[in-house]
Symmetry: C2
C-alpha cells in the first residue's frame, strides 16, 4: 500500500499581480534581485501588503508548507517509497513530489526551489507541477478509493485505528490543510469519505502530517510482520 498525502489549499503562491507594486514586495524584490512576479508570497516579509488580498489571512505561508513537507519526506515511509506527497495550492496548482526526492532543509533554498517550480512549472522531474483542483487530483490523478480529511470540524477519531483502516484499502488518500487558519473549502469536503479530528487541540499541519505518517507506517509494518 502507498499512502497518498495531499497538503490541500496550501498557502503557497507567487506574489499576485495586485500587490507586486507595493513597497514591501518591491524592497524584497530589490534586495534579492528577483522580479516581483517570480517571488513567493511570504507573510513574514510581505505582511504590510497583504490586507488588500482576498482571503489574505490564509495566504503566504511557505514556511508552513515547507515544514509540513519535511515532516512527510523525513520519514521511513517516504524513504521506502510508500508515501506520495502532493502540495495542492490555493491557486489549484499541484506540486507532486516523486518518491525519495530530497527536499531542501534550508528554508531559503526551499523558497528558491518553490519559486523556480511555480515559475517554470516543469512537466517532469523530481517535482512536477500541473494544474488540478482537488477533485481532479483526488479522483483522476491519485484515483483514491478512500479519502480522509483531517479537520478540527471532524469526528474525534483514534489515529491508530484509522491508520489500520487506511492501510486495508488499495489507494488511501489523506488530506491535511496547508493553510494557517480556517477550514476546508466545500469542494474539498465533498471529496472526503470521512472527516476526522485527531486531537482535542487544533494542530499545525506539520504535526498532523508527522502523526498520520507515523501511524500509517506502524500499521504498514504490522501488516508486513
Amino acid at each position: 500500500v502507498t499512502l497518498h498525502l495531499v497538503l490541500a489549499e496550501s498557502a503557497l503562491e507567487l506574489v499576485p499581480q495586485e500587490i507586486r507594486n507595493t513597497p514591501a514586495v518591491r524592497s524584497d524584490s530589490r534586495r534579492r534581485g528577483t522580479d516581483p512576479s517570480e517571488i513567493i508570497l511570504d507573510r513574514s516579509l510581505h505582511h504590510s501588503s497583504m490586507p488588500r488580498l482576498s482571503h489574505g489571512e490564509r495566504r503566504g505561508r511557505p514556511d508552513l508548507v515547507h515544514e509540513a513537507v519535511l515532516s512527510a519526506t523525513g520519514t521511513p515511509l517516504f524513504m521506502n517509497g510508500k508515501l506520495k506527497v502532493y502540495v495542492h495550492t490555493n491557486q489549484n496548482l499541484v506540486l507532486q513530489i516523486e518518491e525519495k526526492t530530497r527536499i531542501p532543509k534550508s528554508y531559503n533554498r526551499f523558497r528558491g526551489l518553490a519559486e523556480q517550480l511555480l515559475t517554470e512549472r516543469p512537466k517532469s522531474g523530481l517535482v512536477k507541477v500541473y494544474d488540478a483542483d482537488i477533485t481532479k487530483l483526488v479522483k483522476k490523478v491519485i484515483g483514491a478509493d478512500r479519502v480522509v480529511g483531517m479537520s478540527t470540524q471532524g469526528a474525534p477519531t483514534d489515529l491508530g485505528e484509522l491508520s489500520k483502516e487506511l492501510t486495508a484499502t488499495r489507494r488511501p488518500c489523506v488530506l491535511v490543510g496547508g493553510f494557517p487558519r480556517g477550514h476546508f473549502d466545500p469542494a474539498v469536503l465533498r471529496m472526503t469519505d470521512r472527516l476526522v479530528r485527531i486531537s482535542p487541540m487544533p494542530l499545525e499541519a506539520h504535526v498532523v502530517v508527522a502523526r498520520v505518517v507515523y501511524e500509517v507506517e506502524k500499521a504498514t509494518n504490522r501488516i508486513n510482520d
Copy 2:
C-alpha cells in the same frame, strides 16, 4: 509528569572567530548589515568557509535545530505545559524554552531570535540562555531520574513501550542529537541510562522528536483516562 527533552550537542552557534574574516561570512554580514560576530553559523550560507573548522561536518545547521524545536513546540504536550525543551549546543550553552513559548515559524525570524539570544544570553524571559555541559544540564538543572538517549547505536526498542516506562518516572529526560551526522559524544553517552534506536533507518532529529513527543503524549493521556 513533565517530559524534559534535550536537543543535545546541537549545531547552533555564532560564527566562530577563526572564519569571521572569510569571503562567505563577510558577504553575508554585508548583505544583512550585521557584524560577523553576531551571525549564526549556517552551512547553507557559509559552506565554503567551513572546511577549516574542526568537526565542521557537525556544525552550522540552525535549520535542523529550528525544525526539531518546532516539532516539539507544536504539540499538545508542549502547549499543555507537560514538555520542557532545552537546546544544548556544541559550545555547551543551553537555550531553555519556557512552557508554551511561541517559537517563530519563519526560519529567518528564528535565525534573528537565535542571534539575539546567543549574543545577549538573557538570564530570564521566555527563552533563557546559560552555560552548561550535558552533565550539568541533566543532573543539576533537570534533575532527571531517568535518561534515554535516541541513537542509531542504541538497542532496537518499541517507542510505545518506552514511552509508558518514561511516564512512570518522576522526571524523565530524552536526549536527541541536534547534529546532522555522527554519534553522541562519550560525555553524553555516560549520562544515559539507556540508549535506544526506534527505527531501522537513521532518522532526522525533527522526526525523532515528533515521534517521541507523540508517544509520550499518548502514554500520558492513557494515565489520565
